[in-house]
């Protein structure tokens, strides 16, 4: 059945039923004194707020630009479209709370596909305590999904602007895995086995680093952002915002053994320039790093240092001490050839 057969209101009712029935995750707001007052279905949603730092972010994916149905099934797309927003909340050190979902859809979209999309959203919502409390649905010649997400934090959020010369640069996991998974699918490489499966899964079901962000923020880390456009680009953005540069060491870039195995020649390129890993990139003085890294669920890899260079300039140093400039700008949605 297509949306135009069921109608907008029929579809909204189905999705609202899924959303309100499917709530089983943690209630991140409760610990902060937040309480949902008006659920999906009125002019706006509403909640009772208590004194806290609130966070607010939005992220959009457009079919053909950010995803294709070939590499991302609808259910994974639902997971990922919330994941990228949750990751932004994680980057501030906060907990995600309430989400509004906007769907732009062609009338011939299959209802079952949109239910799958919502299933994926509900799955990740349950894991992370995100509650969908409304949204908007519009006809559109091209499918797009916009998520607006709020979050909450007990203290000052981690920023991009607070990096200092001398800070170490670290990342909370293996970079490049998602990019490797996408490359496998785009190039039609029928690679099987555990390593290929790990990479594809990293692309299809990323796990935003909410617990890591909380640990970092509580331990006094002031500077963080999430790795969504690629390590080199994102570090460049962080450095630009802080008015500093960075030197990173190729040998210290954390790569999963599966990435090295499947892409022995391209793994460093994927680690530096592959997007959608949704890890946290953070900087802190050495003494803070020494304390906080052992406290992280899966540790973190120190891969470089902040230095007094042209703002945003990232220098990659290889095993022989040779240097190259990488990452001077982020992914430009209008100027570049292939989406990440």
């Amino acid at each position: 059945m297509q949306i135009k057969d069921l109608g907008e209101f029929g579809l909204i009712e189905r999705l609202n039923n899924m959303v309100t029935r499917g709530r089983r995750g943690p209630d991140n707001g409760a610990a902060h004194g937040f309480r949902l007052l008006v659920d999906t279905g009125d002019d706006t949603a509403a909640w009772a707020a208590a004194p806290a730092t609130e966070l607010f972010t939005t992220d959009t994916v457009v079919e053909g630009i950010h995803f294709t149905r070939e590499t991302t099934p609808w259910q994974d797309l639902g997971w990922k479209s919330l994941a990228s927003n949750i990751s932004d909340i994680a980057a501030m050190g906060g907990l995600p709370l309430y989400a509004l979902i906007t769907l732009g859809l062609p009338p011939e979209t299959q209802v079952a596909d949109i239910e799958d999309l919502y299933r994926g959203m509900l799955e990740i919502g349950e894991e992370y305590g995100v509650v969908i409390i409304g949204g908007d649905m519009v006809g559109s010649p091209v499918a797009f999904i916009t998520v607006a997400l709020t979050g909450v934090h007990n203290g000052p959020p981690m920023l991009r602007t607070s990096s200092k010369v001398g800070d170490q640069v670290a990342v909370t996991g293996y970079v490049g895995s998602s990019g490797g998974g996408l490359k496998l699918m785009l190039e039609g490489l029928g690679a099987t086995g555990k390593s290929a499966e790990y990479l594809r899964n990293a692309h299809r079901r990323p796990w935003p680093a909410v617990a890591q962000g909380q640990t970092l923020s509580m331990a006094g880390v002031l500077t963080a952002m999430d790795v969504s456009d690629g390590l080199a680009d994102d570090l460049s953005k962080l450095c630009l915002a802080s008015g500093v540069g960075a030197r990173i060491f190729a040998e210290k870039v954390p790569m999963h053994p599966a990435l090295r195995e499947v892409f022995p020649d391209d793994c460093l390129d994927l680690a530096l320039n592959g997007g959608e890993d949704y890890l946290l990139l953070f900087t802190a003085p050495e003494e803070v790093m020494r304390e906080v890294i052992p406290a992280l669920p899966d540790g973190a890899g120190v891969l470089g240092e902040i230095c007094n260079e042209e703002p945003g300039q990232i220098t990659l140093v290889n095993a022989h001490g040779q240097e190259a400039i990488v990452g001077r700008a982020g992914w430009d949605h209008f100027n570049q050839g292939s989406p990440k």
Copy 2:
């Protein structure tokens, strides 16, 4: 200059400069103890919240579906895309606060057009105290604009679900003016004079009823929604949500003299079915109406009553006592021919 020449980051920087320079409106959050902590440019925006009811809404317009460049210049489009969200906050009785703007744009979009769009947003933001604190920009084959807006309220928000049999039905201004203005433009009617100008202006620059919503809510009105899809459809939705029906009287539907003058034959149809007036539709017992209507800046017109009929059924009664069923469902973005 097109966006693809300037690049995403260049455009974002320009818009961020406009946004942060252009803040001159009231600070609706201050009275509630809210304070902006992280402005546009980081992973998320952040504010310090105080105990209050927070509101959260989103609304999207897609080129070719909800607007065309012929009938809505970019600057008006900016005004309107915030207006529809502000109106949702008004319908709860709240004050609008913080907005995130998502733009989906073809690479050949003119930079000057997007600056005009933001000018319109800043103009209405200044009037209503809406602060743009971030967003997302993506490439898209079709232009779309999504606004996510938060708001704040001191008490319980007005809902759609609380209408009671015996309540009177009222609206805070003249309905159909925006629809009349759109009809003038769509049909290429070169009508001049004050009346035509009034109608076109009603379509291009609607004024959401924030002050009216506050007055209603403080006076004890429990049930309201905004008139965005048309009086008949919106009243039907409100009644459906409350499990009641309504009878409205054709002679009491408030229409501006300009609408009667320019469309003597179609004015009632436009008043019932034209959208985008962004007035407030509300219901309350007669004694509450008597108190609250004189307190509203421009009064309100009582046009009917809530009755014990099939939920969502709206009966129109004309001057001769003849009855007709109107408004059984809202505008369906997927099934119907022409957008409102």
